[in-house]
């Protein structure tokens, strides 16, 4: 009965087909559902990432602006008030000139020399003229902000660092020589040092460097380099005419006061911004920054009260700045009470450097760039090795001790090595550059110009024209 078999077969097929079809269609449904879910997850991840980038980027752009505020008007006012009246504009112009010059140099080569891949000591040339520095993050440095944000944030550090040096040679260097010297310094001292500490593959980089040195926001990169270079410059240039026999008191403590307070506020961008995101680490750095400044203002004031019998306004604000300097390398690594301690010690120590050491050794570090930034930066970098703890920032890994307080005493040696390298590159680099600029342009004002003041002799203006 072949027909019957055939009919049975057809029946079976007829019955089976829908089942098969059903199976097929259900398979098709699941497979069409799966991509939809994945796409949803991907979209969700995308929006989480974009929300995080927006949050981090907002804070980092504000931080960058805060760090610029430290140079102009912060440092310009702080230093401007400390000089004599005839030098106010010239002194402020030195800071302002860095805002212009270093920006241009940074875009052309500075950023690449600091943050390009390069070698142990200096970055490469791949980012010359900001090539490849776009709006997507560079995970080597900051995975949640556009690389241009990172670039401009770092630029603000590169601006303030040479501007700090101007305090040491106040009232006696030619504007042209200053511009040439500090431009070269930015490229040949700052960028290499920034690369060694923060650049990928740098010698002192905390993540994978040969000597992992902790520097959260630039204790060595900014303050040791500028402070030590300041000392070298003051020694190379010699004293101001009449120093120390002639009175050279600050001409406006009010300006200095405003400047110092702006520095304090700006420093939140400097340190808390160095978390490179707006997460809890930024909070930690923010609080440490504030605590250290307060404690150091107290430390300096007490030291001065004992030493001279009066708590001066200049002492209080100088102390605050010294504390801000000292906490800079430690701000993202230590507990709040360690920050208070670091601040207190820094205030007393820097006042000692300024009161005693400077007058004993008789150098004319006119506005105490070394006494505050060099000494405070060195102290802060070493104390970072003592107080850094993985409870705040597991810099070397979750279960790896960070500083001496975690049991890793060797970190103090790493910190000392970082400090020594910063001293070395600053001394050698500054001496060579000063020598070159001295030969080509001549560093020092003529005695007549120095007597007339920077404002008239260098700029043909006066800061205060009370007759107009």
């Amino acid at each position: 009965m072949p027909f019957r078999r055939l009919r049975l077969f057809l029946l079976a097929v007829a019955c089976g087909l829908p089942t098969l079809c059903l199976a097929q269609s259900s398979a098709a449904t699941t497979s069409s559902q799966a991509p939809a879910t994945q796409a949803q997850i991907a979209a969700l991840q995308q929006s989480v990432q974009s929300a995080q980038m927006s949050a981090d980027n907002a804070w980092m752009l504000v931080s960058a602006a805060l760090v610029l505020l430290m140079t102009g008007p912060g440092l310009a006012l702080f230093y401007g008030g400390l000089v004599r009246r005839k030098n106010i504009l010239g002194t402020m112009m030195q800071s302002f000139a860095m805002m212009g010059l270093v920006t241009i140099l940074w875009a052309i080569a500075g950023y690449s020399l600091a943050f390009g891949h390069g070698n142990l000591f200096i970055g490469g040339f791949e980012h010359l003229f900001l090539r490849g520095v776009g709006l997507t993050p560079n995970p080597d440095y900051a995975a949640t902000i556009p690389e241009q944000t990172y670039m401009v944030y770092q630029l603000m550090f590169a601006i303030i660092t040479p501007a700090l040096i101007t305090g040491a040679f106040a009232e006696r260097m030619k504007f042209s020589a200053m511009a040439a010297f500090l431009s070269l310094w930015s490229l040949f001292v700052y960028s290499p040092m920034a690369h060694m500490v923060w650049g990928v593959g740098g010698l002192l980089n905390a993540n994978g460097g040969h000597i992992p040195s902790l520097d959260f926001a630039g204790g060595t990169v900014v303050h040791v380099t500028s402070g030590v270079s300041a000392l070298v410059t003051a020694l190379y240039l010699g004293k101001r005419l009449g120093y120390p026999h002639t009175n050279m008191p600050p001409h406006s403590m009010v300006l200095s006061f405003i400047g110092a307070c702006l520095l304090w506020v700006g420093w939140f961008g400097f340190n808390a911004g160095s978390a490179l995101n707006s997460g809890p680490l930024a909070t930690s750095a923010f609080i440490n920054t504030h605590f250290a400044a307060a404690a150091a203002a107290l430390g300096w004031t007490i030291a001065e009260w004992i030493h001279n019998g009066k708590p001066t306004a200049l002492g209080a604000i100088s102390g605050a700045v010294a504390g801000l300097v000292a906490i800079t390398p430690a701000s993202g690594f230590v507990q709040p009470f360690a920050a208070l301690f670091i601040g207190l010690v820094a205030g007393a120590f820097c006042s000692f450097m300024v009161f005693e050491v400077k007058s004993r050794l008789r150098y004319d570090d006119s506005l105490d760039a070394f006494g505050v930034h060099g000494a405070g930066g060195t102290l802060g970098a070493l104390l970072t090795g003592l107080f850094a703890t993985r409870a705040i920032n597991a810099a070397f890994g979750k279960d790896v001790p960070t500083g001496a307080i975690d049991g890793h005493w060797g970190q103090i040696l790493n910190q000392a090595a970082g400090v020594a390298i910063a001293w070395g590159i600053s001394i050698v680099g500054t001496l060579v550059l000063l020598f070159l600029v001295d030969k080509v342009i001549g560093l020092r004002l003529s005695p007549e110009d120095e007597m007339a003041g920077l404002d008239l002799s260098q700029h043909g203006e006066e800061g205060y024209d009370l007759n107009s």
Binding site: P244, N247, E304, N308, G315, E356
Partner: protein, 112 residues
């Protein structure tokens, strides 16, 4: 005609000005000045450095008056400016030959 020059503590300027007006002396010239007599100066501290400031801020009042107002003017200044401590200042009196009002060429005492 007499010229009275009085060197005063800056903080006493308003009191002296009022006392002179009360004494009927209406014109005066005020100069901001720096100087010292026996008071010498004071010391200031900036970052641990001691500065001796020996020229202190002062104000100088100049008035030119009729001879008969002399004692009244001196009385007004001394009573308003005196604290009894070193640094209260000094008064100098000198003779004036001529006074001319620029506006209308009036001369002598009527120009005062």
């Amino acid at each position: 005609m007499l010229k009275i020059e009085a060197i005063l503590q800056p903080s006493k300027l308003d009191a002296v000005k009022d006392a002179l007006l009360e004494a009927g002396i209406e014109g005066m010239t005020i100069l901001e000045a720096r100087g010292h007599g026996r008071q010498k100066g004071h010391t200031e501290f900036y970052r641990g450095r001691e500065y001796t400031v020996d020229l202190l801020p002062k104000v100088k009042i100049e008035i030119v008056i009729n001879d008969d107002l002399k004692e009244k003017a001196i009385q007004a200044i001394t009573s308003a400016a005196r604290t009894g401590r070193i640094g209260d200042g000094k008064i100098f009196v000198s003779r004036i030959d001529e006074a001319i009002r620029i506006r209308n060429d009036e001369r002598g005492e009527s120009a005062l």
